[in-house]
């Protein structure tokens, strides 16, 4: 048994005087789906941005497959290339075709030949049902399609870890399902995923571990059954009771 894919040790992040992350410790095993929940401003998105080195942490260490990627001597671009990220607002490149959006990292970061990259991208686009739109620009797609393209863009290079940052928050309610179905699909495929979400039903369904963040600290972490039915912390119970039907 190898060690965890991702290990966070005492992660701290300040925005000015405000401490956004206050000593986060977290291990993510291979094939594990970890869902971060918590109120807006609890630090979910910041934590994901820190893991991907888009934000510089103010203390602590980030280990990817045992390697400290928060070491300043590490090539950040190489580390980022091993992690897939999907953002709330898709962040597809509007001036590139759907296909090119997916192949860009394959050809220019991972140096895979163009034909092979395009074949792989087309397979992925077929899987999410937008192969016929491969050569149009992202604006022609619906929000749900755009987000699914963003997801396959992130997984095209087979990242060791996938970070999903509130990927359904910007979608119409009727488009949320198709995106979450794709995430379940990835889970079944064995992807290692850390995701932040407000979709509690989905968190319950997809998560192996749920982590409740409160004011930059992990209030409680455990299985969905544990957190939803029998949480240790009163605050966890209070937060989740607002979502219970």
């Amino acid at each position: 048994m190898s060690g965890p894919v991702l290990s966070l040790r005492n992660i701290r992040k300040d925005f000015g005087e405000h401490r956004v992350l206050d000593g986060i410790d977290l291990d993510v095993k291979e094939h594990e789906v970890v869902v971060l929940i918590g109120a807006s401003g609890s630090g979910k998105s910041t934590l994901l941005r820190c893991v991907n080195l888009l934000e510089r942490i103010d203390d602590g260490q980030i280990f990817l497959q045992g390697e400290d990627i928060s070491d300043p001597r590490v090539d950040k671009d190489k580390a980022r290339a091993r992690i897939g990220v999907v953002f709330q607002s898709f962040n597809l490149f509007p001036h590139l075709s759907v296909l090119r959006n997916v192949t860009l990292a394959l050809t220019d970061v991972h140096h895979i030949p163009k034909e092979e990259a395009e074949a792989r991208a087309m397979t992925l686009l077929e899987r999410i049902g937008v192969a016929s739109k491969a050569h149009v620009y992202p604006d022609r797609l619906s929000g749900g399609q755009q987000q699914r393209v963003a997801i396959v863009r992130a997984i095209a290079a087979n990242p060791e870890l996938l970070l999903l940052d509130e990927i359904t928050s910007a979608l119409d309610p009727n488009l949320v399902g198709e995106v979450l179905d794709l995430v379940l699909d990835l889970k079944r495929g064995g992807s290692t995923i850390v995701m932040a979400t407000h979709e509690m039903d989905f968190a319950r369904q997809a998560a192996d571990t749920i982590v409740y963040l409160n004011h930059g600290r992990i209030e409680e972490a455990g299985t969905p059954e544990k957190l939803f039915n029998n949480p240790d912390s009163e605050q966890t119970a209070a937060f989740l009771s607002r979502y219970r039907k």
Partner: protein, 287 residues
Amino acid sequence: MASVATLATDVSAVELWRRSYLKQQTYKSVLIAAISLVVFVGIVVFLLSGSEGWAKVQASFFDWDTFVGSLPAIGEGLLKNLQVLGYSLVLVLIFATLIAVARTTRTPVLFPVRLLASLYVDLIRGMPALLLLYLIGFGIPGLGIFGRIDPVILGTIAITMCYSAYVAEVLRSGINSVHPSQRAGARALGLTHWQTMRIVVLPQAVRNVIPALMNDFVAMQKDVGLVSTIGVIDVVRAAQIEVAHTWNFTPYVAAGVVFVLLALPFVRLADWYTNRTREREQKGGTV
């Protein structure tokens, strides 16, 4: 669209009335425009032809034979303009991009470069183009290092220096107009800073500022005429020589016509390009 045609047969009376009303309004405004144009031109012609000096002005500025006679010389000068314009255009695009990227890169390592770029832009934008031409055109040969230098090259250097600063500022605003999430998206994929600039940011940045770039380009094309002051026989200088020969100012008008004609296609090209990209990337519904 076909659907509109089929629908048109069963529109309501209200809509039919609206359409006929709008049509009437259109006719009315076209009529008013036509009448006011005729009246305006009439007044101008009346004032000009009625003025005391019109006959003289017409003879010395709008003499057809002189106009045609000056064209070969002006055409030859035009080649010099196009030469300077072509060289400078390529060089300006390269230098302006470098300056703009330097000024928008927030790496501490590049601080000296950033400072230098800022100083350069401040300096050049504060200096009249004509002065810069004099300094380059007479200063560099004065050094005596390079022997005799073709004034076309000196002019190209001066124009390039001048417009690199302006175009860099336009590009910088374009780069800043690209949403930070685009950069985050690119970096998250593992693209380096420079790849992100080249593949993701700059193409969007340029597109956002194409009208402003074209504006600078047309201005540059006119300022190329300033190279006449350092000994290039361009359109302006050729016109001056013709004026001196013929004792008639018509060659200046001819030169003006040449400059305007030169600018027109680029202005139209810019409009066409902007519209095309907008249509390609946005679903309809522009208001």
